[in-house]
Symmetry: C2
DNA sequence: CATCACTGTGTGACCGGTCCCACCATCTCA
DNA sequence: TGAGATGGTGGGACCGGTCACACAGTGATG
């Protein structure tokens, strides 16, 4: 019988007894130390197999001071979170990247202020080795608190001015906004509007700036009536599009700073009888999935989610191992579909 | 200074010293025992605040044998997982439901066989208090292994024949398939096709059976050429729709067993020049988000994700506390949009 | 042949909690 | 007034690992 007599899980001592070695040796085998003789190694591995041993996570964590897990911290309100496939893309990527290091991801959401206090308290308690923060907003209370508590943290996005204090990984939003706008220009648009992300998020600001730079470089007007603000959500995009249609009815292209907003814009344009792409070109941002479900299919800037995830994990592990902060910016690529 | 002299985190002993009580008393306060005098309670709470104490998860878990976290186990291949918003909906719901009990969710994916072995080994090691299994397929090696290891497990979906061995929570797929088909019939369709889910998943089978029952009840033909099999994905839905168009070109309605497949079907119908809903009605299943991004907006059966999540958590906590298995079936509701 | 470096192994202390039992006060009631 | 119940508290053992250190055995070196 491989199993322990009575529901009791086998411990490292049981393994040691079966293998005829000491606990220390078993521990060394478990942790891949090279200071183990081939015979001992074989004996221990066999014993582990026969009694069906699996290490106790809590005990290991307590003794070693490392938990082999990191938190994936989401600070947006819940309803946004799971409408937006961006988050699950990142989460999936991070889970995979962590698995390569035998680490796990624990999901922590902190949408309300009360949640935040609890979350910070928990995370500051070193229950996880580090935090992958997906926040959008920098310098908010959460990142400050984590910083103050000295918890290794990597944030998704780029937050100017915090480079020295925080590791960050983000897509090149500025260049992405520029590329998409240049694409719209190249398709012949001359009255190009934009639906921005939230103006308190660096990503939203930078995508807008990219748009403005491209227009200026092409000698096109950067008119205030061509800019409407959204919140990355579909509903926000729809509202902003309605706004644009009244303020600048002659617009011939729209750059939405997220695919969800572009979806909202598409539906409003359709209601208003504007054809896409014949009357109005529409470009989005993210390419996390929805861009391939719309009609017409949505031209968008693809964020390299897999690379963002793996870089976040890489930088976090580096920070956990004592390295300093680093900032990584990854390029976005234009994915042209039917909407332009 | 609230913080400990030198990076050392305060322990329960520090709290005890500051409060002038014993470790036992602090532990009692922490765990909400009522056997504590008001003075001691106040002193401990104050001490906790002043030195900024937060309990060590690993130590607590080791001593108490409970981890206050459960695993969210996904066994589908990675690419499917994060294309399908269903999963993140469930995950979000479970996270929230667990938070009410001060518990956390750890994400474990096991797409490849190697992952599976590792995952089972980990989960069987009681590192989490229980497992929320999102699998689609029952009786697969994972659920068997978890069962054998005695890990409290609740699976999402309904698996006939396993009621006594496993807790499960699922939408009423049979009734959902029936309702949608009845709806298509009520809209005047008479050659109703279906794109099924995978035939090795109970959910897929039951939605198909609901479709068949409704047709039979209405005296309509249940013809084999009207049934094409998909895999819940968009690409699978597109392929199945192409198949249907050649085998049964006169079809006037399609029930797709997932919204993603419906999206694939919509694009194929569009390419083929069939108008929706004028020429062909299309109905989906899930309503996890995409149904509101399509053109036309997709009529679908809504799964009560929040209730599914909270029921899964409720049953899992019950199992952890020693209760037996239970099966919960939740109703789906028709959400009528423009595609019918 | 004594010394020394080096490899492999065993052992005890420790991580930070929980839990149980012993114990002291105080209060109740015969 | 003394026995017994009750409420609150302290402290030791323990959870299952890791880690530093001690030490035995081996081979190389002077």
């Amino acid at each position: 019988m491989p199993h322990h007599p009575d529901g009791e899980r086998p411990t490292i001592r049981d393994v040691a007894a079966v293998a005829g070695v000491s606990r220390g040796t078993v521990s060394r085998v478990l942790n891949g130390s090279d200071r183990v003789s081939p015979q001992a190694l074989a004996a221990v591995q066999k014993a582990i197999k026969t009694i069906g041993y699996s290490a106790n996570h809590a005990a290991r964590s307590l003794a070693s001071g490392r938990s082999n897990s990191v938190a994936f911290l989401l600070t947006e309100p819940q309803h946004l979170l799971f409408e937006d496939p961006t988050f699950s893309r990142l989460m999936g990527g991070c889970t995979q990247a962590l698995a390569l290091h035998e680490m796990l991801l624990t999901l922590v959401t902190a949408g309300t202020p009360a949640d935040r206090a609890r979350a910070v308290n928990y995370l500051a308690g070193r229950h996880v080795d580090g935090v992958l923060l997906v926040s959008g907003r920098a310098g908010n209370s959460i990142s400050e608190d984590l910083l103050a508590a000295g918890v290794p943290t990597v944030v998704c996005g780029r937050f100017p001015g915090l480079e020295s204090r925080l590791s960050m990984v983000g897509a090149d939003d500025l260049d992405g906004g520029r590329q998409m706008t240049e694409h719209l220009i190249s398709r012949g648009a001359i009255r190009i509007a934009t639906i921005t992300g939230p103006m308190d998020m660096p990503g939203g600001i930078q995508r807008l700036e990219g748009y403005q730079h491209a227009l200026a470089a092409a000698g096109l007007p950067v008119a205030p009536e061509l800019i409407s603000h959204g919140d990355y959500s579909k509903a926000g995009g729809a509202a902003a599009m309605r706004d644009l249609l009244t303020r600048a009815p002659d617009t011939d292209a729209v750059f939405a700073a997220s695919d969800l907003m572009a979806v909202g814009a598409l539906s409003v344009l359709r209601e208003a009888g504007r054809r896409v792409p014949e009357d109005v070109l529409v470009g989005g941002f993210d390419d996390a999935g929805v861009a391939e479900t719309t009609e017409p299919l949505l031209t968008t800037m693809r964020q390299p989610f897999d690379r963002i995830s793996s870089e976040m994990v890489r930088l976090l592990l580096a920070r956990i191992n004592g390295d300093g902060n680093a900032t990584v910016t990854l390029p976005t690529t234009l994915v042209r579909r039917s909407s332009t």
